[in-house]
Subunit: 329 residues, 2 copies
Amino acid sequence: MKFSTEDLIEGIRSGNKRLIAKAITLVESKKAEHRQQAEELLKEIMPFTGKSIRVGVTGVPGAGKSTFIENFGRLAIANGKKVAVLAIDPSSAINKGSILGDKTRMEELAREENAFIRPSPSSGFLGGVANTTFETMMICEAAGYDYILIETVGVGQSEVLVADITDIFLFLKIIGGGDELQGIKRGIMEMVDIIFINKVEESNLQKAKTTKLELKRALDFIPAKEKGWKVPVLLGSALYNEGLSDVYSTIDEFISLKKKTGSFEGVRVQQAEKRFEYWVQEYILSMMKKNNSVEEAYIQHKKNASAMVFNPSTEAKLFVEKFLSKGPD
Amino acid sequence: MKFSTEDLIEGIRSGNKRLIAKAITLVESKKAEHRQQAEELLKEIMPFTGKSIRVGVTGVPGAGKSTFIENFGRLAIANGKKVAVLAIDPSSAINKGSILGDKTRMEELAREENAFIRPSPSSGFLGGVANTTFETMMICEAAGYDYILIETVGVGQSEVLVADITDIFLFLKIIGGGDELQGIKRGIMEMVDIIFINKVEESNLQKAKTTKLELKRALDFIPAKEKGWKVPVLLGSALYNEGLSDVYSTIDEFISLKKKTGSFEGVRVQQAEKRFEYWVQEYILSMMKKNNSVEEAYIQHKKNASAMVFNPSTEAKLFVEKFLSKGPD
């Protein structure tokens, strides 16, 4: 890294997008010396973090997530806010280019001075399946962004990852043929705070209203995630800027409610604890991986465990003893 | 432990309930020397495990779980099977006695030669919030039990723990006043393989049928957990032995389907891998805890992380370095 930690911090604080991008690349790096500098950087910027509204956005491919984020972002900017757009994509090795990767997407938003768009990080990190979106978010907050919009393609565990670092979770739905509620990913309905039915026009308005009723009924079957909040189902068209201001004010309402009940702070504390536990595992795993024989042992013992050669706990004990006696080098 | 590993193994294999209980106490123990013997024992009995049908049973307090397990167990025994009943209860420190703890429960089943009932283990284990139900199950399998019924009180994460070690998940529902589907715990509907509406009598049969329809409709909103399986909603009364043979044959059908599609083996492989990962963490945590200063450091760094003194990843790095340099003693 050619930039000193001081350079990067100054760049972040002054809103220099090139240096913000460099800082993000730093925290995404798997190299030990970069990791060291990344921790120093994160330590220094902590006092400037925590002030944004962290919004997760999910929906099936074709639901219009990019268009939504672009035009919602522009609306927020028109309201005097700064907007950062990130992506969480634990499977980006497979889906390369499917998320924020296409340069022609979000062109309008990208041109805005008060917008910052960061494509998906490379998949995996250190030993685990993780990502550094949380740390990237810290950097964007220190740079003064008011809204952090985090897009997920909805593959694998990505919604859980997003839910673990955001204040509010938006689900974009489109109406198609057939049974509207089939094909919604397991668990999504229980994570969601706001549903936006997108691509609603004159011609499919009736269908959209039916879908809304079905979603409302489905939501009745699910206990409230946030006390005192009934998940609203909003209709609109992100492309034609219809319904976006409803979403904007509904987010405001939701955040106000969370701040009033204390769940805003409470959930963030839990998220930080989870993040700590996550990183403890990451660092231990990464130290294991530095030692080839330890990594081989991990793979072999896990394979034995899944084949039930020995009991999984026996395999685990054998491995941990091996690891801790050999040490991390 | 006064018994040698050989004694215990012989006891298990010959179906000696007193020695089975001793072996379970051994795997539940947190003491390092017991842990060592437990691993030896588990290693030896591995070839005799894996042949049972592992059934999770959940439902709100008052749903009749104990009566269901008792009479279902007796039905299985009447069909020539051996039945073991376990409980998973991560919060048993709080709910002591609420699960399998009452000696007057399952009296009839307890008297059966081919039944083995084990009350809830003490809460927590080594460093984590875990439990040894998986390992207890191994012992019961080696002792020749054909059905392992695992009861959960449905507190906290207990259903997830049960789902992580069983082949099939049963949900017991009772009909009460008001909105039948409110109050069902988040996520339950997505984990369930069979629903049994219990305590159905002449007087509430119509209501039960309505509840069944509502449940069926709710299930339509949820993508299939097991390909080719539509979750059946069965009616009956465990107390009066009504509907239990339906449950019995439906479990058979479900297991046959899973064996045909390969998901029976596939899921068990995944479960064993998860179990391995879980135990790697447990052992690492337990080694941390052995060193007081390491444990204190863990608590302090986690507290700092949640207060966002430093970034959670920074706190994690500081802690892991401290831990690995001091070592586990």
